[in-house]
């Protein structure tokens, strides 16, 4: 049962190792220029360290995004099996949306989305 999975891992490992090995063997060998060592070879040069304090708003917005993203993910399977128990699933979805709605109203009124 797991043989296919094992083969997949084997193939993935082989491709990875092979790609590196082939470039190493066949590729030209010369000293890299400074631009090659940059994170982005073409574009604006990186300035400063990425490990600094971000405004907390980023996180709040990101979390809100995840919550509403999950809501969509939840509704797809619900839609597919809706005919099995229409009333039950309808109320179920409504309660779920209502709970999310309370959270949304709370977030709005507490000014989380006001970008100050």
């Amino acid at each position: 049962m797991y043989t296919a999975l094992f083969m997949l891992f084997l193939a993935a490992g082989f491709i990875g190792v092979a790609a590196l090995a082939i470039t190493f063997v066949t590729g030209p060998k010369k000293t890299p220029q400074t631009a090659t060592l940059e994170a982005y070879e073409a574009g604006i040069p990186a300035a400063g360290d990425a490990r600094e304090r971000f405004p907390i708003h980023f996180y709040l917005v990101a979390m809100l995004f995840i919550i509403f993203d999950l809501e969509t993910a939840f509704f797809y399977p619900l839609a597919i099996r809706f005919q099995e128990a229409p009333q039950y699933l309808f109320w179920n979805a409504l309660v779920f949306v209502a709970i999310l709605g309370v959270g949304y109203v709370y977030v709005l009124r507490r000014g989380v989305l006001d970008w100050r």
């Binding site: 229409p86 039950y88 709970i99 309370v102 709370y106």
Partner: protein, 487 residues
């Protein structure tokens, strides 16, 4: 997939839903007008309504199914513990009515968080499988993490919140790992199927490791030694009304879950899990009682006393989990504990004014002469915690020890009573300070009629449960007969 009934059957889940609606209402109203009284009033109304449903579950447990396709067990144990959680939350709301924590103008989330924590607790005690248990645990824990860090800008408060959050998250992770391992070993999440699978043959190392991890995760929440270190620090650092709340509600919920897991998911044919629990109980009894002996402040002392009481409760859970004693013992003890422990913290709150540096035994000197009413109440609570008859705590301890004898854990039972001798010493130190020492200064207690009501109700509960133990016992035991899993 479980085929759900078409339509809504609220029944047994009604107490939790009521609290959820109340929490949402308080949250939205709080954004309209930041007023602690408004949040408190909504909370009290919601709790009273939820209590009506919970008592209905207790009186007539079989008749109420559940909905949303969850494993939601309605029997004497779960309905009784739900009542204990509601009582504890009600008293905590009264206690915080005039407290500075609830009044911080810009933060109307206090009461909604209390209600959400209670909702999570109710889900935990009703859980029939690990999924509902984990959901309840996380709802409860996340709310309490926030509440325990409520005193911002105070070093002890921030320490408490951080410590509780980090250790709590760690314990949750271990619990989830244990659940995953158990699922791996048995292929089931619901307690009944796990129990049947484990009873079918000799359980492998996977199942035992899973059981051990579940025990550690829940052991953290009920503060079994050696996972108790957080309790005294968090109890001291959190605002006293929050400490009062978490010391009872978290304990009731976690013990409810542990009782359910121990009695249904761990069959009596697997003695190693019971042995692990027994070792934890023995350690807890010794560490909790000896630790409390060394404390000089009421909150820290009560923190260690909470650890010690976890030992007695663990004794009852151990016996009930083996099917050799009635789970009613645990339920009875937890309501008694709710009254007496919350009462003790309530008086502490009134005497200490939430002063982080005020947690010293000197604060209690001469209270008997200056404020006899409060001192009598505190004496009742401490004597009840110590196990003096005829107060609630006596029957709690007696029932737990009797259960241990019933189950054949005689040495643990004797250890529990010897540890109780130590307990008498540390509780009575505070009683002596109140009555037999002169007051070094005038004692100003926080002016709050609502908090006084909380003290009075808790005292009435402590005395009434001691004088009429059968009322609550018969109610829970009667409902316990209808123990059934409701799909």
């Amino acid at each position: 997939m479980i085929v759900p009934p078409d339509g809504l059957v609220l029944g047994g889940i009604a107490p939790a839903l009521t609290l959820l609606v109340a929490a949402a209402t308080a949250l939205i109203l709080g954004t309209v007008r930041a007023d602690a009284r408004q949040g408190g009033a909504v909370a009290l109304l919601g709790l009273a309504a939820a209590a009506v449903f919970a008592v209905r579950n207790l009186v007539d447990p079989g008749a109420h199914g559940a909905t949303f396709g969850v494993q939601w067990v309605v029997d004497g144990a779960s309905a009784g513990l739900a009542v204990a959680i509601l009582v504890g939350t009600f008293l905590a709301v009264l206690l915080s009515w005039d407290a500075p924590v609830a009044r911080v103008g810009d933060r109307p989330e206090f009461h909604p968080l209390l209600l959400l924590a209670a909702t999570g607790g109710i889900a935990m005690v009703h859980a029939g499988d690990f999924v509902v248990l984990l959901l309840g645990l996380e709802i409860l824990s996340l709310s309490v993490y926030a509440l325990s860090a409520w005193r911002t800008g105070v070093r002890e408060g921030e320490e408490a919140g951080m410590k509780y959050f980090l250790l709590g998250a760690f314990a949750s992770a271990i619990l989830i790992y244990g659940v995953a391992l158990t699922y791996g070993a048995t292929g089931a999440f619901d307690f009944a199927s796990i129990g049947a699978a484990l009873a079918a043959g000799a359980p492998g190392p996977l199942a035992l490791l899973g059981g051990a991890f579940v025990l550690v995760g829940l052991g953290f929440k009920v503060s079994f030694a050696p996972f108790h270190q957080w309790a005294p620090d968090v109890y001291t650092g959190a605002p006293t009304p929050v400490t009062a709340f978490m010391s009872v509600v978290v304990k009731v919920a976690a013990f409810g879950a542990l009782l359910r897991v121990a009695s249904e998911a761990w069959p009596a044919t697997v003695p190693s899990l019971d042995l692990m629990l027994a070792i934890l109980v023995a350690l807890t009894l010794v560490v909790g009682n000896l630790g409390a002996l060394l404390q000089s402040g009421a909150k820290r002392m009560l923190g260690y006393s909470a650890v010690a009481h976890a030992g007695y409760l663990g004794l009852a859970v151990l016996a009930a989990g083996q099917g050799l004693a009635s789970p009613t013992t645990v339920v009875w003890y937890l309501l008694a504990y709710t009254f007496m422990n919350l009462g003790a913290f309530a008086v502490t709150h009134l005497v200490m004014h939430d002063d982080p540096q005020g947690d010293r035994i000197e604060a209690w000197q001469g209270l008997g002469a200056r404020k006899p009413g409060l001192a009598i109440a505190m004496t009742l609570f401490l004597f009840s915690l110590a196990g003096f008859p005829p107060l609630a705590g006596f029957f709690g301890k007696a029932l737990a020890v009797r259960a241990a004898f019933d189950a054949g854990w005689s040495s643990l039972a004797v250890l529990a009573l010897l540890a109780a001798v130590v307990a008498v010493v540390y509780y009575t130190r505070f009683v002596f300070a109140m009555w037999f020492a002169r007051a070094p200064r005038a004692i100003e207690v926080a002016p709050s009629d609502a908090a006084r009501w909380a003290v009075g109700l808790a005292a009435a509960g402590t005395v009434a449960m001691g004088l009429f133990p059968d009322v609550w016992y018969a109610l829970v035991e009667g409902a316990g007969a209808a123990l059934a899993l409701v799909p």
